[in-house]
């Protein structure tokens, strides 16, 4: 018998009947060059022969199950007795919550010992005689197939689907229209952002508000080498659209010595060396503020794009494609720093229509 097609008589019951479960099934000949040696002869375990060894295994399994029971009792006891805020020191983990540690340890032990006991039981005491279980043919027998065909035909005739056209047509109509609900929902992928990506909350006359103190900034507050984050005046953290707006408007304020500023436009847009740059990386929009005050480099933590704040925030390393947009700032009549307009270009990562 070849291994390619498995004839009916190869189901285990039949085959065992005329060949037995073990020993060589076929030998190599001209038609079939690969011998099938069959299953190797069965070897007994110690537990199969020695009743004392079997008893030992039984006790080991029972021990594991008992440990599991005790661990469950321990779990309940720890839940009841240990207060949630007690901490203990466990080497080498360190300080941690005593309750969490006890619950984890007992529940873990309870579950693991059930599994370990079951595996040990199966490995040492349950029968380990190898059984060959061959595949059955996939196709159903011809008489079963004939019966299914007949039943289907009878059903179709009884439902009168061919005769009652009105039912048939409305059913087709209903089934065709149902998927439309799913198609309509796709509208939620839109609408298109229009010009939302090109504008932020910054506008002429908006004060720069320090995010730490919630107060507007004066130029004298900003020391050389310091780093401050600002939001536009009027945007409060409890506003419904705060996250959407700050994601575009987040601003990073640093002060350089005016002599250190190499870029002409940057100097023009600054106020006494105070420069305001978008905090959003132009690569994929991470908040970027790893500012090195001696080198004036700003590093993005996501992909290491590096911008030189003393030279128009040009990209000097990494995957970012644009310099950080600068916000033009000045001082109002009361001596507070204010924006002199919105960013001139879209902040954050590039997009298809950015230009």
């Amino acid at each position: 018998m070849s291994s390619q097609d498995i004839p009916e008589e190869n189901v285990p019951a039949e085959r065992d009947a005329h060949e037995g479960a073990h020993g060589a099934v076929s030998v190599a000949d001209e038609k079939n060059p690969f011998a099938d040696p069959g299953l190797p002869p069965h070897e007994h375990r110690i537990q199969d022969i020695d009743e004392r060894a079997a008893k030992r295994s039984e006790r080991a399994v029972a021990f594991l199950f008992t440990v599991s029971m005790l661990a469950t009792v321990g779990f309940i006891a720890s839940y009841v007795t240990i207060p949630a805020d007690r901490s203990i020191f466990v080497f080498p983990i360190g300080h941690l919550s005593a309750l969490n540690f006890a619950l984890g340890l007992t529940l873990g032990t309870a579950l693991f010992t059930i599994g370990a006991g079951a595996v040990h039981w199966a490995r040492t005491l349950m029968s380990d005689v190898e059984v060959a279980d061959d595949r059955h043919p996939i196709a159903a027998p011809p008489e079963v197939r004939a019966k299914v065909h007949a039943d289907f035909k009878a059903g179709a005739t009884e439902s009168a689907i061919g005769r009652r056209k009105l039912i048939r047509n409305t059913m087709f109509g209903a089934l065709t229209l149902v998927p439309l609900s799913g198609v309509v929902l796709l509208r939620d992928l839109g609408p298109l952002p229009e010009d939302k990506l090109r504008h932020t909350l910054w506008a002429k006359g908006k004060l720069l508000v320090n995010m730490n103190t919630d107060e507007p900034l004066r130029p004298s507050d900003v020391a050389v080498g310091s780093l401050t984050f600002c939001k536009p005046e009027g945007l409060e953290e409890h506003d419904e659209d705060f996250q959407n707006e700050i994601a575009k408007a987040a601003l990073m304020i640093v002060r350089l010595q005016p002599d250190d500023i190499k870029d002409k436009q940057e100097l023009e847009w600054s106020h006494e060396g105070i420069v305001a740059y978008s905090k959003i990386c132009t690569h994929v929009g991470c908040p970027i503020s790893l500012y090195e005050q001696q080198t004036h480099h700003v590093l993005c933590p996501c992909h290491q794009s590096t911008f030189d704040l003393s030279d128009g925030a040009k990209v000097i390393f990494g995957p970012a494609g644009h310099a950080l947009p600068q916000l033009r700032i000045g001082v109002n009549d009361e001596g507070y720093l204010e924006a002199l307009g919105d960013f001139e270009e879209p902040v954050g990562p590039a997009f298809w229509e950015r230009g």
Binding site: E43, S97, S226, F229, P287, Q293
Partner: protein, 270 residues
Amino acid sequence: MKKLSARRRHPLAALVVLLLALACTGGLYAAFAPASKAQADETAQSLAIEEGKKLYAVGCASCHGTGGQGSSDGPSLVGVGAAAVDFQVGTGRMPAATSQGAQVPKKKVIYTQAQIDQLAAYIASLGAGPTVPTEAEYGPEGADIAKGGDLFRTNCAQCHNFTGKGGALTNGKYAPDLEDVDPKHIYEAMQTGPQNMPSFPDTTLSEQNKKDIIAYLHAVNSDETVNPGGLELGGLGPVSEGLFAWIFGLGALIAVAVWVAARTAKAKKS
């Protein structure tokens, strides 16, 4: 009293008397010294500046110039203030062994606190700058830990990580781990901006804000920090956690799978 006098010839009697005498002297000194110190505060100050100048000439002048004006090897110290000196020398960063290298690391402190105060007094006399903060400014009283966490994530976490574990910067520079750093030094670092760290002066990050941040750091990154989950794996985020899960988690699963499928011991064939 009879009992006490009876023991006056005890071999340890001399030692006890000596200890008592020392304790009395020390106590008297502690009681009277501050009064006299207050009277002579101004003299002490100028004396500290004198002493500081001598220390400066020996330990610092070769890089920072004889008058603190700076040189090609070290920046000017005019106007950096006492806080900067207390931080740099108090954490052992100064004196730096060399001006080469990405940044000056934390080292063993080689000056006593008294000497550091003298150096700070001298540098502060060169030009006004931030002063050394007092316990009342950086201590835990009246600090809001939750607000501190908020401020830390806004201002500091980009470099120092969310719980102050530190992180890498460009060209070998790094933001150090803030675990168990003296609160005074954290305060001074925020105020003065050592090396490449930007400064956060009181005008943009108020004294109360700094106190809150220090309290937050103590809560999340000190030897008293209680981590309810335990085993923080360096607190660095998904890299170390993922590595641990792949190596130890999967390793344990593979070991169990091998045990489940291993052949059981067979009785010897006779």
